[in-house]
Amino acid sequence: MTDVVQSSPDLSLRRVPEIGSAPIGSAAEIRLAQLWESAPGWRGWLSTVDHKAIGLRYLVTAFIFLLMGGIEALIMRLQLARPDQVLLTPEQYSQLFTMHGVTMIFLYSLPILSGFSNYLWPLMLGSRDMAFPRLNALSYWIFLFAGIFLYASFPLGEAPNAGWFNYVPFAGLEYNTGPNIDVYALGMVLLGISTTVGSVNFVVTLFRMRAPGMSINRVPILVWGTLTASVANIFAIPSVSLAFFLLWLDRQIGTHFFDVVNGGKPLLWQHLFWMFGHPWVYAVVLPAMGIVSDALPTFCRRPLVGYSAVALSTMATMLLGFGVWIHHMFAAGLPTLALSFFGAASMVISIPSAVAVFAWIATIWLGRPVFNTPFLFFAGFVILFVIGGLSGVMTAAVPLDFQLNETYFVVAHLHYVLLGINVFPVVGGIYYWFPKFFGRMMNETLGKWSFWVMFIGFNLGFFPMHLAGLLGMPRRIYTYAPNMGWNAVNMVTSVGSFIFAAGILIFLVNILISLKRGALATPNPWDAPTLEWAVASPPPAYNFAVIPFVASRHPLWEGRLDEGGGRSSLEQGYLLMEGREAIGTTPLDAEPDIILKMPDDSYAPFFLGLFSALAFAGLLLHWRDFTVLMAVACSLSLMAWMWPRKALVQRVADSKYNKGAAHG
């Protein structure tokens, strides 16, 4: 612990944490539980900063948004099932497809992965919480309020209606006079705050909060995925927040960023949006690929083949992902030379994906799998991933994309990517970690039913969309004539989408039944290798009674893998129980570095989130005084948040309370 000395200006603050064990029921364990548990009732509910509670909230909220986006999709599929239907007006259809996209892309696909990562990271990394627990709570609350903000416009018939990528000038004031686009613009800026603070938290957590010994080459792939996605978000979100902010200024203040008559550039919007949009596409799949890379090996009974290759390919995908945004704009009339570069880059980006695909197949091949529900979802995911990847290669070929762009082929491709690579791993992941979340197993019979119904419904629903695209069906048309040759494919798609929805319904029923009557789960029901399975199911508030020492990538398989090297120590470790404490370690080698004083529960994140959302609502409604009032309330919440407390002071003995500065 020499590092503690080096990092502290005041030698008297040096403290070496006690090493020991704290079995369930011991005095130390009871004290830890008291320290970490939130208050009962609504107070604890509003003030908790426990990453597990926040993670579950993310999962549940995002899943509810998935269901809402799904219902929107089903309504659209009814409209499109046959030609010349009049179930929806064109305006209703516009709002539905826009909100379907906004919901699925922004309110479901990343938040659900944040839910997994929030819940699992500290458990996988052997930590007691995320680096900034209150920021974590804020991130959730703002996400929730931004979602409500966007959806509040729906019942009023004023929901965003220009497509999720919201091209100007159609989204400008001249062609879109209602509040619809202002809702979208402000909602996105608000949501951007949530994503940004969440990403910062993940990055710092990874580099600071791992258990001693968990060097960077021992972290699970999910952690790599979320880390990569978070770094990408930190760079990508400013682009989209800026774009929406400029659009809002154009619409409300009268600036001319996108306004052609006054020299604005519509193409600027496309660039800003896709500079964000493409990295985002990878941000919403890489953590999900991580879920598979971590959970698939459990059912294949062997470690993932090519850990380093997969981790590196994750990062390579993201790096390349920043250099391909033009492939969304191949039809925008850009110079051929530029198109060539971006087309070639878009092909190259498939190579890291190939690494992952062959790593998974090799893992299954060499491992000889056991057939549980999560395995089915992960194996199904691999095949959908391949289809989505191959159709992606087609759209990367510039001349072909001149045809495919903005047709149903792209719709098919993006659904194979987003459902195949996000929804299937997510549902599989819920089956896999459900026992950890709730202490009960999910029903296997219903689980297998839900997989097969979802898998068949998905392919029946979305594969024909490729054909609709090849037959020339454009995106975002609210109806079509009977002589276009699209009748059969659309009918099949509509039928398939309802079958898929039935599969989701079976999954939901399974959750409800299993919550009540599922078999009780042991700490490690799947015999999995990673740290989250070393703690009870569900985990105690403090996660780890003692901070473990980690000696390998697979702490719970060490005895059987016999890789040489030391053995992880899960029973003996730092006790750290003078208040809420965690250990900070060095970024690469995870050597113990510093004792971190973790913050208590607080209402401040909730109120800061609430007041921010209200301030944005004030901006939307042009209530100037109200907005100012809410901004003041935000400042007050921040002051309450930051208010210094003695409990956070690093101390050796009571007598030195007032002497040292807090650190950590």
């Binding site: 062959f358 091949w365 045809q403 762009n405 903005e406 024909p464 893998l561």
Partner: protein, 350 residues
């Protein structure tokens, strides 16, 4: 001029075989059986040098990627069904095995991708520009939700404007300059060329060429508002003589015959319609809507939505908002007498 359906008939066998080979999907065959052919089906039909190389590219990509898919699917199926010996469900495999899978798999994928990328770039180069100078230049401007078409000529008196129906001579490259009057649209005649966005403030262009006479359907493919679905047009490729005849006819102003009925209709048009529509040779010079000088010469009205019969025309005038809700064309409140007068007048616009 042949109707496009008859021209496509001999492709039916090829396309059925092709689709069942690569996609093995029943819906397509059913769709084709139902309607003959999809008028926007660029994947199996192309009629010019701006589109045909892309069509071949599409076939080769689909065929190759389908083979890759089958190989990977077989590997995965083989992997999934390798049985685990029942006596020891808990054995754990060693971590350091299996790397050849990644080396070989990724290596082969990278080579294929490299080849595909080169093929795509070569094709892009081939279709980027016509091999000879365009024989005809026209400007297409996207409006919510119709197309204005201007034929250029060095002699300003020989320029003319029409809407929603482009005529081109067969066998020569045509340069299409693309503009937008309001929001972003995209110009797409899939059987002749790929699509290009029409962005306000920018001058985009593309070229196309039809090697066979016929009618080719076009469609806006960039979401541009509530009636995006009904923003179609047609390209009519004609032999040079017919094209010349059409062009000469279009250059003329409307020939005004004068009978009582027609005069009443004309007056009505000037009162109610001329704010938006132009009829050359009359005082109607509105610029917000299609030029109707030679309305009766067009096959379709309402941007490709309805065939140009007098019943459809009347229905469109009186019920535009039911047929195309949100369109800029209002549903006109007209009495029966007014309707017949207006019809009589419009029917003279040959």
């Amino acid at each position: 001029m042949n109707d496009y359906r008859s021209r496509f008939r001999h492709f039916a066998a090829v396309e059925c075989a092709f689709f069942s080979m690569i996609l093995a999907a029943a819906p397509v065959n059913a769709a084709l059986a139902e309607n003959g052919v999809a008028p926007l089906n660029y994947f199996l039909h192309s009629y010019g040098p701006a589109a045909t190389p892309t069509m071949y590219l599409g076939w080769i990509f689909v065929a190759l990627l389908a083979v890759i898919f089958v190989i990977i699917a077989l590997l995965l199926t083989g992997a999934v069904f390798r049985k685990r010996s029942a006596e020891d469900p808990c054995t754990i495999g060693r971590e350091d095995e299996g790397m050849p899978w990644i080396y070989i798999g990724t290596g082969v994928s990278a080579c294929i991708l490299f080849a595909l990328a080169i093929y795509a770039l070569v094709t892009l180069n081939v279709i980027a520009k016509p091999t000879r100078a365009p024989a005809l230049t026209l400007t297409v401007t996207g409006y919510d939700w119709w197309w204005k078409i201007e034929y250029e000529d060095d002699d300003p008196t020989r320029r003319f404007v029409t809407a929603n129906e482009i005529h081109i001579p067969v066998g020569v490259p045509v340069l299409v300059k693309l503009k937008s009057a309001d929001v972003i649209h995209a110009f797409w005649v899939p059987m002749l060329a790929g699509k290009t966005q029409m962005i306000p403030g920018l001058n985009n262009q593309q070229w196309l060429q039809a090697d066979a006479e016929g009618i080719y359907r076009g469609q806006c493919t960039q979401y541009c508002g509530v009636q995006h679905a009904h923003m179609g047009f047609e390209v009519v490729a004609q032999n040079p003589a017919e094209f010349q005849k059409w062009q000469d006819a279009q250059r003329k102003s409307a020939a005004m015959v004068s009978t009582i009925d027609i005069n009443a209709g004309k007056k009505l048009f000037l009162d109610r319609c001329s704010g938006c529509h132009t009829i050359r040779g009359t005082e109607a010079v509105g610029a917000h809507a299609p030029d109707l000088t030679h309305l009766k010469s067009r096959r379709l009205i309402a941007a490709g939505l309805l065939t140009n019969t007098s019943e459809h025309l009347v229905k469109w005038i009186t019920h535009a908002q039911d047929i195309k809700p949100g369109a800029r064309m209002p549903s006109m409140m007209l009495t029966a007498t007014e309707i017949s007068a207006l019809s009589a007048f419009l029917s003279t616009l040959n």
